[in-house]
Amino acid sequence: MNEKAMRSQRKWQTIIWVAIILVFTYLASDITNFNIIHGIATLPNAITWIFSNLTITSETLERLPKILEKLAETILMSIAATTTATIFSLFLGLMGSKTTGTSSVLGVFARFIASVARNIPVVAWALILLLSFGQNSMTGYLALFVGSLGFLTRAFIETIDEASHSAVEALRATGSTYFQIVFKAVIPQCLPQMISWILFMIETNIRSATLVGILTGTGIGYSFDLYYKTLNYSAVALVTFVIVISVIIIELMSNRIRKVIL
């Protein structure tokens, strides 16, 4: 009897969930004018269009050196934004973690900075910075920097919190100073996990760098936007292809590194 009651309760729960989701789906399609039937109907056309127009011709291959140069700019921008953000996040992470935090005021401050930097989308940062920094690499770099700062600080706080407290306690018992504890116990323990986060951030940043590039007119995003707006679809295909290849290579490399260190 009891099992039966539980079962029917579970059934009802599922039905209610499905009903809520259906209502929300209806509301969402209504407000956005999204028509699922139209969406599915255009899909075959869209795919044929992609295969017939997005083909790389030999003519566009001449643009490859220029595109690769832009790609290098984007990749370097993402890496630089990540590594410089890492340095600041490390301090914020040490301030924000319960294990290594020195005062609760600083801890709240670090968490507040991280939350604001992370939750304001990179797009908003890019648009704000664009107004005074103008159309150059610095704008994209700073926008990515702020986003990475927010994300990495949160990741580092969690990593440091998860690391074992016993080493910290042992060092404290021997009378080590704060910096000795941090550099001899906390950092060595957390380093593999931190590097893994940094690599993840670089991957994410390369994807967002394209987006930021479209808005701020820098890097590979700018090339894409330019060809896209001049209806040069063959070049659009080439840019997309180059991005895909580089993202996959970077992902494979960081997976390799992760496998060794974690």
Partner: protein
């Protein structure tokens, strides 16, 4: 005796090296070294055209002050603002829910314990390819291929949602107890029975949590698509306010709205994560 002498590594001056040739440490040091080098290289490689730092920093500080201390609406009303937020949330919701449904079936094919090796591998490779193309490119490509409109935005966002959820879902499916599957197979249950009676009940809460986590990501993606791909919603208003009207007060208010929603979503997903998978990473 001989064996111990070969094991102890000595430096050039005869001192015993206490750091043995550890591969992990070597790789970590190498990674840090390469990244530092690339960072330094990056600052030489940057294009600084038209940059005037001494002017840009105070100006940005002034803009930020106006944004955050004097937020106001001037080009549209509160009602419209809420409507635009609704559009952004709607886009995010549609992409998430459609993505979840499609990802569920793909994940069944990708899970190694429910499917055969080749199907699983193919699905994984396709998903990896989809993930490699940034969302904005998918949206822009679909905008011309499928015609402008919310369909293009949802389709573009759908692709990444599927890729993300297939990975999450298939990992959840792979953790289903082998014994349950075996027991059901032994009773003569077919593949579909196994899914509906064993896999789905034991993973349902995980699937819902992952879907919600993706919704949180999709919200910020939807804002970005509004700004960069003209998908509409609050992101587009942000783009107009900063790029066309140069109205810092309005930018400030829109940023506050986005920030508020993002923080609410984040708190909800942190609660979910704590409840359902405490040990898993934030990713």
């Amino acid at each position: 005796m001989e064996a111990t002498t070969t094991l102890v590594k000595r430096r050039a001056n005869g001192r015993i090296s206490i750091k043995s040739g550890n591969k992990v440490e070597q790789v970590m040091a190498g990674t840090i070294f390469v990244l530092t080098l690339l960072t330094i290289l990056a600052f030489f490689f940057f294009n600084y055209a038209g940059l005037d730092i001494s002017r840009a920093i105070p100006e940005t500080a002034y803009n930020l002050k106006t944004m955050f201390l004097e937020p106001a609406l001037s080009h549209f009303t509160w009602g419209e603002a809420i409507y635009q937020v609704g559009i952004t949330l709607g886009l995010a919701f549609l992409a998430t829910i459609l993505g979840a449904v499609i990802a569920f079936f793909l994940a069944l094919m990708a899970a190694t314990n429910l499917s055969n090796l080749w199907v699983s591998k193919t699905v994984r490779i396709v998903v990896a390819f989809i993930r490699a193309v940034p969302t904005v490119l998918w949206v822009l490509i679909f905008a011309i291929a499928a015609g402008l409109g919310s369909e293009a935005a949802v389709l573009g966002m759908l692709f990444h949602s599927i890729a993300y959820l297939v990975k999450a879902f298939s990992e959840a499916f792979e953790e289903v107890d082998r014994g349950i599957l075996e027991a059901l197979t032994a009773t003569g249950a077919n593949w579909w029975h196994i899914i509906t009676h064993a896999v789905l009940p034991s993973t349902f809460t995980y699937l819902l949590s992952w879907t919600f986590l993706r919704f949180e990501i999709n919200f910020s993606v939807a804002v970005a698509m509004g700004a960069a791909a003209g998908a509409g919603g609050i992101g587009f208003e942000l783009f107009m306010a900063s790029g066309f009207y140069f109205d810092m007060r309005e930018v400030g208010l829109i940023t506050y709205i986005i920030l508020l929603l993002a923080i609410v979503l984040e708190i909800m997903s942190t609660q979910l994560k704590k409840r359902y998978f405490p040990a898993k990473a934030v990713r």
